[in-house]
């Protein structure tokens, strides 16, 4: 794969049709919008090295309740924009007065973005059996720009990781990751995710992670 470090304004291609994420077209040519890594495939995408998470409908995220209003929980989703979880999006019917009994300020939740309007009002839901309050385990935070690498192509990295470390893992697109399992397993998962975060922009990462897990496990037994 052809990859290159680019800065904003770099000319990437003369073919406007190849414009992908992180690029823009001017006078029929494609330029970079970001400082990051350009991937030259059919489309040219620029993957940023940093930046804030901007919610997109369908994203799974991990949030922390920071306020409760009459019918909404206001949730910090590690983004410039707060998430709104409406009372009707809670899995069971509850009364407005009892909202803080179910999710109080400081509660961590696994949730999904259902809608983002042009003024960046972000609506969340808990209506899925994968989603809900976090009662056990650990939440760690990495840069959201590394999340695609942690998931891997078609989920290859994350499914391998789940199997190898024997942990439940929920990856939030906002860079927050929940791990749940035995103490030692969680430590290993944490170590591995740290490694992926650090070496996110190197080639052949999955193979290296497999080797890493093998040696770590070998050292344990």
């Amino acid at each position: 794969m052809d990859r290159k470090v680019v800065v904003p304004g770099d000319l990437l291609s003369e073919d406007a049709k190849r414009s992908g994420e992180g690029t823009y077209v001017k006078n029929g040519s494609v330029y970079s919008l970001l400082y990051g890594l350009a991937n030259f495939r059919d489309k040219i995408n620029v993957i940023p090295l940093a930046g804030k998470y901007v919610p997109v409908p369908g994203d799974n995220v991990i949030g922390v309740v920071k306020d409760i209003t009459f019918s909404n929980w206001i949730v910090d989703i590690n983004s410039p924009y707060d998430g709104l979880l409406h009372i009707s999006e809670f899995p069971k019917r509850i009364e407005s007065e009892e909202m803080s009994k179910h999710l109080h300020i400081g509660s961590s939740i696994m949730t999904r973005v259902t809608d983002v309007d042009p003024t960046m009002k972000v609506e969340l839901t808990l209506n899925d059996k994968k989603l809900g309050l976090i009662k056990a385990g650990q939440v760690i935070e990495i840069s959201h720009t590394r999340v695609p690498r942690l998931i891997g192509k078609g989920g290859s990295m994350i499914s391998m990781l789940k199997k190898e470390v024997n942990c439940n893992i929920f990856v939030g697109q906002n860079g927050r990751i929940w791990i749940h399992g035995g103490t030692e397993d969680m430590d290993l998962a944490l170590k591995t995710i740290t490694l992926i975060d650090r070496e996110a922009h190197t080639n052949g990462l999955t193979d290296r992670i497999v080797d890493f897990l093998k040696t770590e496990k070998g050292a344990r037994s």
Partner: protein, 250 residues
């Protein structure tokens, strides 16, 4: 002119040994502040400037918020120890003007429409001043914005030209700025769109033309240095990863 000529040039070279169209040495470091989303430290001759970018983030106070785009706030500040006579700390007329023009120099390339209802804060602190702090500040801020992952149409580079002893010179230093006849800072994109142009002093139309061209050439050279600094930061990240840590939350 009179004797002052002699003091500006010696054997065709300037007081610090530069040619008329030569920049002062430039050093750029990216990502120097761990708490900021993006940061940059720059030295341009005797100028030492640090820039920090925060955001996009929530706007406080709320009434400044724009429903359709991000606002950009730029604060240029001189440290009290940055000049020989202590500078009275805090914003003054000069720094307010520089903050405004610098913000307007950068705003045209930032895609503010990507982040409605948010703010991008840019802080520029001058640690040591030696003429041309606004240009150094803009250069540092542009690199810091890129480092923060903020989408921009292009980089911005800034450079000044001046006139001393009836000669057009590039990148005036303190003495040339204080006792010279004109100072003309510009900021531009690498393809030559000018986003800032100021002039202090007097130039004939012909001199003005030449000064602008000289400053643009200087800005292009600075663009290459900004680019190199960003590319270098990436290769360092690959070679010795691990500066960024993972936080364990409760």
């Amino acid at each position: 002119m009179d004797e002052t000529d002699i003091s500006f040039f010696k054997d065709g070279l300037r007081l610090d040994g530069r040619k008329a169209d030569q920049l002062r040495p430039v050093k750029i470091e990216v990502g120097v502040l761990a708490r900021a989303d993006g940061s940059c430290y720059i030295e341009m001759g005797g100028n030492k400037v640090i820039a920090a970018v925060y955001g996009p983030r929530e706007v406080h106070p709320r009434h400044l918020q724009e429903a359709t785009r991000a606002i950009v706030r730029y604060r240029y500040n001189m440290a009290s120890f940055s000049v020989e006579d202590r500078k009275r700390p805090g914003p003054d007329r000069r720094s307010q003007e520089l903050s405004k023009v610098s913000r307007e120099a950068l705003e045209p390339v930032i895609l503010t429409s990507f982040f409605p209802r948010s703010v991008i804060d840019v802080f520029v602190e001058v640690l040591q001043a030696d003429a041309g702090t606004r240009t150094a500040g803009i250069n540092a801020a542009a690199v810091a914005l890129a480092d923060a992952g903020i989408p921009m149409k292009s980089m911005i580079s800034s450079c000044a030209a001046g006139k001393v002893a009836d000669t057009i010179i590039l990148d005036p230093m303190k003495e040339e700025d204080n006792f010279g006849q004109a100072d003309l800072p510009i900021a531009m994109t690498p393809n030559g769109d000018i986003t800032l142009l100021q002039m202090d002093g007097g130039l004939t139309p012909d001199e003005f033309q030449r000064a602008v061209e000289m400053a643009m050439k200087g800005a292009r050279d600075i663009y290459e240095l900004q680019r190199d600094a960003l590319v270098k930061k990436y290769s360092q990240m690959v070679e010795q990863p691990g500066r960024e840590e993972v936080h364990v939350c409760d």
